[in-house]
Amino acid sequence: MKSTINSAMKRYKSLVVMFIILCTAGIMAFTLNKESEPKMQNAGLVVKKDSVASVKAFASVYRVLMSPRCMNCHPAGDIPLQGDDSHLHTMFPKRGAEGKGVLAMKCANCHQPENTPGLHTPPGNPNWHLPPADMKMVFEGKTARKLAIQMVDPDQNGHKNMEQLIAHADDGLVLAGWDMGEGRSKPPMSHAAFKKAWITWIKTGAYAPKK
């Protein structure tokens, strides 16, 4: 009787050990796989995971984000970029804590609520600014992979969850990228095409490309 209980206990113990090993392996596998998947805050958004479609859509998104109309205000340094060649903004205006410039060099001192008519005049928007100093949301110099990961990380994307990210496609300053005044090129596709790719990327799982 005693030996039967002992062998049952042994079997139970080995089952528990196996369970722990399997759980640990499972958690490790999930952690290792997680790298390509976004750090999501999914507020009720329906996501149908499709890594191939997602990565393909992000290729279009990336082309837009890296175009001068978007990247010029997401510089690696604290001076915005300017022009289709993305040179440093003449006069070297600085970002400032809120992204609205500093001292006598605030963005809205020159950038009006609307585009100023004529060539080489300041483009405008009521909300003209760079990302703030405590979350610079840099595009310049980022690979597609790095930018995709940054885009869905609330600690790097302005604390946006997935639904807020989708809504951001229609943000006034994002839309302004397609209407920057005379003599400036537009992003490489229409806003509608960009928005479609953006939403596709997010709704298929917001996968980051390998590179």
């Binding site: 006598a104 001192n109 005049t121």
Partner: protein, 157 residues
């Protein structure tokens, strides 16, 4: 009709709301201290204060300024005794003088926000004000001097 508050006086002007504020100030109101330089916000000669900010009046529409507080170089002080005006005079800053209304108006915003500016602060604030005579070293000197005068004035009052 558009109502404007310039140098603590109220004006009513009959002008296109799209007219640059600079034209309104110079040609309609008759305050010609503010200068036209480039017309495209590149040089800083036309800087005025709009609600305390160093705004370029050549690209600012009249409609943006309606009922807002505007200060031009003429309204910076009552009798040219703003610390910057005193310092500019003391350090003989201008050569031709054309850009200096804008230089002083930008420097006034700098001193308001940074009463003791470093050379870096001066660079950051004044980089958008161009001087074809190259009086930059004297501008820097005068801003430091004005900061001292402002401090003395503050402690005296």
């Amino acid at each position: 009709m558009t109502s404007l508050k310039i140098n603590q006086k109220t004006y009513t002007v009959d002008a296109d709301p799209n007219m640059p504020l600079l034209w309104v100030i110079r040609d309609i109101i008759g305050l010609t201290g503010t200068k036209y330089g480039c017309g495209v916000a590149q040089c800083g000669a036309c800087v005025i204060h709009l609600n305390g900010e160093a705004v370029r009046s050549c690209v600012t529409k009249l409609s943006r300024a309606e009922n807002q507080e505007i200060t031009t170089i003429e309204g910076l002080s009552n009798d040219n005794n703003h610390p910057l005006q005193v310092a500019w005079n003391e350090a003989n800053v201008p050569q031709c003088g054309y850009c200096h209304s804008g230089q002083i108006m930008s420097a006034a915003v700098l001193l308001k926000e940074k009463p003791k500016p470093t050379d870096q602060d001066i660079d950051d604030a004044m980089a958008g004000n161009i001087c074809r005579c190259g009086t930059y070293p004297r501008i820097r000197k005068a801003i430091h001097l004005a900061a001292e005068l402002q401090e003395k004035k503050g402690s005296a009052s």
